[in-house]
């Protein structure tokens, strides 16, 4: 997946256009050009961070993992062969790190509760709403509540199901890209997606029937 069509490079007024922009940046970064790598980071940071926050359930851990993803990517970039897209490759690194993180967290005795709407200080996090102009307040409230139900339902999924659901329904990857990112057959991607969607659907159904808030 290409992140954009034009890329400004290194603040030197060089603008790279067309589909080869990312490939050119990858080549430069493979040759240890840090300015090129920074541009690649900027192209993929938001998507990866958005994925990581929902995979691990909190922005602080997601931030640490985002840094780790990029450091590993920089180390591994010379051996990146371009068979999968850079985006898919980065999602693979991110998913592996999330699963490791989940295992480490499962070993801990203490648990930390987290509200998806607030950060550690209780302040609202920086949201970028897809639909900021809801038609009326009641509908906006229902929409917000429904989103909270969906967020909670996502967190209740196992990491394997969550990864597939987020990559397909939230990040917009294709079945093939997810299969490459997670190194699983495409049939498994479809069955996991189906399974994950059914679980989310059940919780939304309970909410709409008034069984849960």
């Amino acid at each position: 997946m290409m992140g954009c069509d034009t890329v400004s490079y290194g603040g030197r007024g060089i603008v790279v256009e067309s589909i080869s922009a990312e490939a050119w940046l990858i080549q430069r970064a493979q040759a240890r050009d840090e300015a090129a790598f920074e541009q690649l980071m900027r192209l993929h940071a938001d998507k990866l961070y958005n994925y990581l926050v929902r995979m691990v359930g909190n922005p602080t851990d997601a931030e640490d993992l985002l840094q780790e993803v990029f450091l590993r990517a920089y180390q591994g970039l010379p051996s990146f062969d371009g068979r999968a897209s850079l985006s898919t490759w980065l999602y693979r690194i991110a998913t592996n790190l999330c699963i490791d993180h989940q295992r480490r967290r499962a070993r801990r005795v203490t648990t930390v509760s987290y509200s998806a709407q607030e950060d550690d200080e209780g302040e609202p996090t920086e949201w970028e709403f897809a639909d900021p102009n809801a038609p009326d307040p009641l509908e906006a409230l229902m929409h917000k509540e429904l989103q909270q139900v969906v967020e909670q339902a996502i967190q209740s999924l196992s990491p394997k199901l969550r990864a597939v659901l987020l990559l397909y329904d939230v990040e917009g990857l294709s079945y093939e890209e997810i299969a490459q990112a997670l190194r699983i057959p495409m049939g498994t991607v479809k069955s996991r997606l189906n399974h994950a969607r059914t679980r989310i659907q059940r919780q939304v159904e309970a909410y709409l029937r008034g069984e849960t808030k």
Partner: protein
């Protein structure tokens, strides 16, 4: 097709990926099945909520930290691999040297150095000279000055 299979078509319908034939079959089923009509509402609401989830922006300082870590002087790969192995003997050597130094220091009072011996001998010799000077019929002026003896 049963209701479970139609439910799969509901997701495809929400995504806009139904073929005309599938769309026609689904519409025909929905006209007669109340359960699937309800499920249609649920699936569409779920799909909408998923696709409209708020998106997080990566914090700028996280990228700055990555950049700083990349610019920090890198340790050679062999050192990263062997540093733990190398650390144990180095620590052992350091401890051995420390113990040896402590042992040397603790024996110092029993083994006076050449300088200390020379200084002692110097004072004995000086004392002997002063004793001789005290019995001498003509003591030097320095003798009276330094000993405090009166003429």
């Amino acid at each position: 097709m049963n209701c479970k299979q139609y439910e799969q078509l509901l997701w495809a319908e929400a995504e806009g990926q139904l073929s005309p034939a599938e769309a026609q079959a689904l519409q025909a089923h929905l006209r007669t099945c109340v359960h699937c009509q309800r499920q249609r509402e649920v699936v569409h609401a779920t799909y909408r909520a998923l696709s409209m989830l708020p998106r997080y922006r990566a914090p700028e300082h996280a990228l700055a930290q990555v950049k700083a870590r990349l610019q920090a002087p890198a340790q050679p790969a062999w050192w990263q691999r062997w540093r733990r192995v190398a650390l144990a003997p180095a620590l052992g050597l350091l401890l051995a040297l420390g113990w040896w130094g402590w042992q040397q220091h603790s024996y110092t009072p029993d083994t006076p150095t050449t300088a200390a011996v020379n200084e002692t001998e110097h004072w004995i010799e000086l004392h002997q000279q002063l004793e001789v000077a005290e019995w001498s019929p003509t003591p030097t002026p320095d003798y009276f000055l330094f000993t405090g003896h009166s003429r």
